[in-house]
């Protein structure tokens, strides 16, 4: 892939699938192993779900911007929506006994479980989620990563 690729996507369920597919393809091209590709694609899927559902609330005039950047040591994925900004304080811990049987609220937890770094920046004009996975060993670009 080029250093950075960026996509502007509609606030639809199809966008969630497309985001996951792009993440799978790019992570595979960069030489991540099968398990890491699954982790990256799932984290991106969950980020896209947040953007489409909770951020933009399916609004047709609002877009999701998804970008992938290959730096010297990392794959950096950014997902931006145009919603009102997520309330981080209002997200319950899905592992707490009282929340275990809730049917939602695991998306951000899964992102944090699967990626090396997750940064979430809410604002009044939208939320930006940055997902970072360190590149280990031989990458598809032929460079040795910093193990």
């Amino acid at each position: 892939m080029e250093q950075t690729v960026s996509y502007t996507l509609d606030s639809t369920l199809e966008t969630v699938d497309h985001a996951e597919e792009k993440a799978t393809r790019i992570a595979t091209e960069l030489g991540f192993g099968e398990d890491e590709v699954m982790q990256i694609s799932m984290a991106v899927r969950e980020g896209a779900v947040n953007a489409v559902l909770h951020g933009n609330a399916y609004a047709p005039d609002k877009k999701v911007v998804l970008s992938f950047e290959r730096t010297a040591e990392d794959l950096v994925i950014t997902i931006r929506d145009q919603g009102k900004g997520i309330d981080l304080g209002g997200i319950p811990n899905p592992l707490a006994p009282e929340n275990l049987l809730k049917t939602s609220g695991r998306g951000i937890f899964l992102m944090r479980s699967f990626m090396d770094v997750v940064e979430i920046r809410p604002s009044q004009t939208g939320t930006e989620i940055k997902l970072i996975k360190h590149v280990h060993g031989q990458s598809a670009g032929g460079k040795e990563g910093s193990q």
């Binding site: 969950e46 899905p94 592992l95 275990l100 049987l101 809730k102 049917t103 939602s104």
Partner: protein, 114 residues
């Protein structure tokens, strides 16, 4: 690959063979509708065979939880059968593995109902 479900009966137990993806949208809705339909028809001993489920997201996990609690609230019992490694790992990290009654053997799952 989208989700496919097929229902069969074994010794009074309803086994739902699931394959494909349980994800936000069609897969989750199909799972929800199938379990609700079974319960409405009085089938309260349910096994979800997830042996051919190759992908599940947080919405899919939520549907499994919903199926479990809905069945339990209606006096029934729901077990999970043949978890793939991906689904097994997801249930482990979400601490749901010990919440569900998970079986590796269909006959044992069927016999395990009260």
């Amino acid at each position: 690959m989208s989700m496919k479900l097929s229902v069969r009966q074994v010794d009074g137990v309803t086994i739902v063979d699931c394959s494909g993806r349980i994800t936000l949208g069609e897969g989750s809705v199909m799972m929800r509708d199938t379990v609700r339909d079974l319960l409405a028809k009085g089938n309260k001993k349910i096994v979800l065979n997830l042996g051919e489920v190759n992908y599940i997201d947080s919405s899919g996990i939520g549907e499994l939880v919903s199926a479990f609690t809905t069945t339990k609230n209606q006096g029934g019992e729901l077990k999970l059968l043949h978890l793939t490694k991906k689904v097994h790992d997801l249930l482990q990290i979400t601490k749901l593995y010990t919440v569900f009654d998970v079986k590796d053997d269909e006959a044992a799952a069927v016999k395990g109902f009260k």
